[in-house]
């Protein structure tokens, strides 16, 4: 009997310590914007921490004093802005090979860059390095002559020829379609790269998250190796907003924020489906790992923390109502309540920093309770 009580007590102790491991407390007003600025500037990016503990936040503001990759100290005080493109929608800081680098998807330019921590670019994966099958996929439409706002779809496919007079598409069934470039005919498409990460072997994984959700694999030198994912089965992704290499597992896995389907899933590094981590989420947008934990920014108004068994162990800053907007002004911000989480990271001590999709720019912090 006493053994049973002891066992029960020990289980309770373990449970309570496990719970204690994932308790957090909100830190109000942590980030201190650049001098003379009320906020950090238009945010639609990511946040990451380097090995020294400095915090990097991408900002797309029109104000050149704010635009780029802002760097803050451990204490949240502004240090400098790195002169990198303003549209770093997704980036990570990883140590591989010759040191610690920033790997970023430049949404506005449809390329990937690798930069030193001082902002100097050391490698680029240009748009031309991506396979034509995805890069040149376009939808062609024509404006109605009587009502130019009305568009009539003509065809979607891979652009295989393009002359002054006509455009040739390769359609899904393998046939070719020639389209005359008459007045009102236009095509839209191409890549919309939203994030990248680095596998243990140095391979760079890039996702076309605002495009057709394909995931591209490049060597550490930037040479194309493989593509998987996309809108069709088996993964059938929709707005795969960001991807990350989940090194909690051996071998490492690809963790995909399949935001359109409100789920997260794992694949092997070659793209083979492993399983769903969670479904019916508030639109997972970004993630970060620390020890056995993963924190997730859910853009519809929540930050969640998950263990390695895919169990949700904490929710932080949960908005009482669903959100998904950059338009919540500072006067309407509530301490500790998120608006639209877009990027997230653990720092080196397991504290959580989150950046929001917000025209004024907002960063929130929760410290881990130890």
């Amino acid at each position: 009997m006493s053994n049973r009580i002891l066992s029960l007590l020990s289980v309770m102790a373990i449970a309570s310590s496990a719970a204690a491991e994932v308790a957090y407390e909100f830190v109000p007003n942590f980030i201190q914007p650049p001098a003379g600025k009320e906020t950090i500037g238009d945010g639609h990016g990511e946040i990451a921490v380097d090995s020294a503990g400095n915090i990097y936040v991408s900002v797309q503001d029109k104000d050149p004093a704010l635009a780029g990759l802002q760097v803050y100290g451990k204490d949240g005080k502004f240090i400098k802005t790195l002169p990198l493109p303003a549209s770093l929608h997704g980036f990570v800081i990883r140590k591989y090979g010759d040191g610690e680098h920033i790997y970023a998807a430049v949404l506005g330019e449809q390329k990937v860059i690798k930069a030193n921590l001082d902002g100097s670019i050391v490698m680029e994966i240009p748009t031309s390095a991506f396979p034509a099958e995805q890069r040149d996929y376009v939808s062609v439409s024509k404006s109605d002559e009587t009502d130019p706002k009305k568009k009539i779809a003509i065809a979607s496919g891979v652009r295989i020829a393009d002359s002054k007079e006509e455009l040739t598409l390769k359609l899904a069934d393998g046939s070719e379609k020639k389209i005359k470039k008459e007045k009102g005919v236009a095509a839209a498409g191409g890549l919309k790269l939203t994030n990248c990460d680095v596998a243990p072997n140095g391979d760079i994984y890039v996702v076309d998250g605002y495009g057709r959700s394909f995931i591209f694999v490049f060597s550490s030198e930037g040479k194309f190796k493989q593509v998987f994912g996309g809108p069709d089965k088996p993964l059938a992704l929709a707005n795969a907003h960001k991807i990350f290499i989940d090194r909690r597992f051996e071998p490492a896995r690809v963790m995909i924020c399949d935001r359109g389907h409100k789920r997260m899933l794992h694949t092997q590094l070659d793209g083979t489906f492993i399983g769903e981590i969670a479904t019916e989420m508030r639109n997972p947008s970004s993630a970060s790992f620390h020890g056995n934990l993963m924190c997730v920014a859910e853009i519809a108004g929540n930050v969640s923390v998950w263990d390695k068994d895919n169990k949700r162990v904490a929710d932080l800053g949960t908005s009482p109502q669903m959100t998904n907007t950059p338009g919540i002004a500072p006067k309407d911000w509530q301490q500790g309540i998120v608006t639209s989480p877009h990027g997230i990271t653990f720092d080196n001590d397991g504290n959580i920093l989150e950046t929001e999709w917000n025209k004024w720019g907002r960063v929130l912090r929760w410290n881990v309770k130890k």
Binding site: S87, G108, E109, S156, R159, A187
Partner: protein, 208 residues
Amino acid sequence: MRIARSILILAAGGAVLAPLCALAHGAEFLSTKLTLLPDAEVLLEITADYGGNPLIADESTAREALSDPVRLKRHETLVPLAELAAVNITQHDNWAEFAPASYLPSDTEAQPHALITAAWRWRSETPEIVFEMPKGKLHDVLLWTRDQTNLDVSPKWMLLLAGDRSKAIPVHWTPWWQRWQTLMVSSVLILTLCYYVSQNFTLRHRTL
């Protein structure tokens, strides 16, 4: 410029720019504008942006998304909008008219829109209406209300994800007794007026 770099414009000279790609998720939902009209009339205008929503690649996908985006909860059944009224579809680029100000994209992400709005108009049978998103729906719905009888009131909005249900929204419901009262008063007034006119008309005839 950022947008320009990411798109492939193949239009010949003078061509109108077609639906362009989005750099953001400025319209990553179906904007559902609910206008409450007098006498329990409801106008629901649902807008899909196939120029700025990564989940809606083209016009046909937009039309499909608008075919059954949200349902009216009536007792325990979910009624498709198509069963409430005939749909009226228009194409335009006036995003500001069809989404609340706080949901408009950032000006740094200024992006052209290619919008399709589907509108349904019906008279509510109940004093309150509730919308529900069936589970499994891909497109989130931003439901926002504008009270046409009081335009000074700021629009209220709620984002519905698959499986979510809106709060109960009161319509401008006129109770049956008030309708009868109005009818009776109107009838009496009309009869009185008719009587008055007929009397005067007759009198004038006599005078003439």
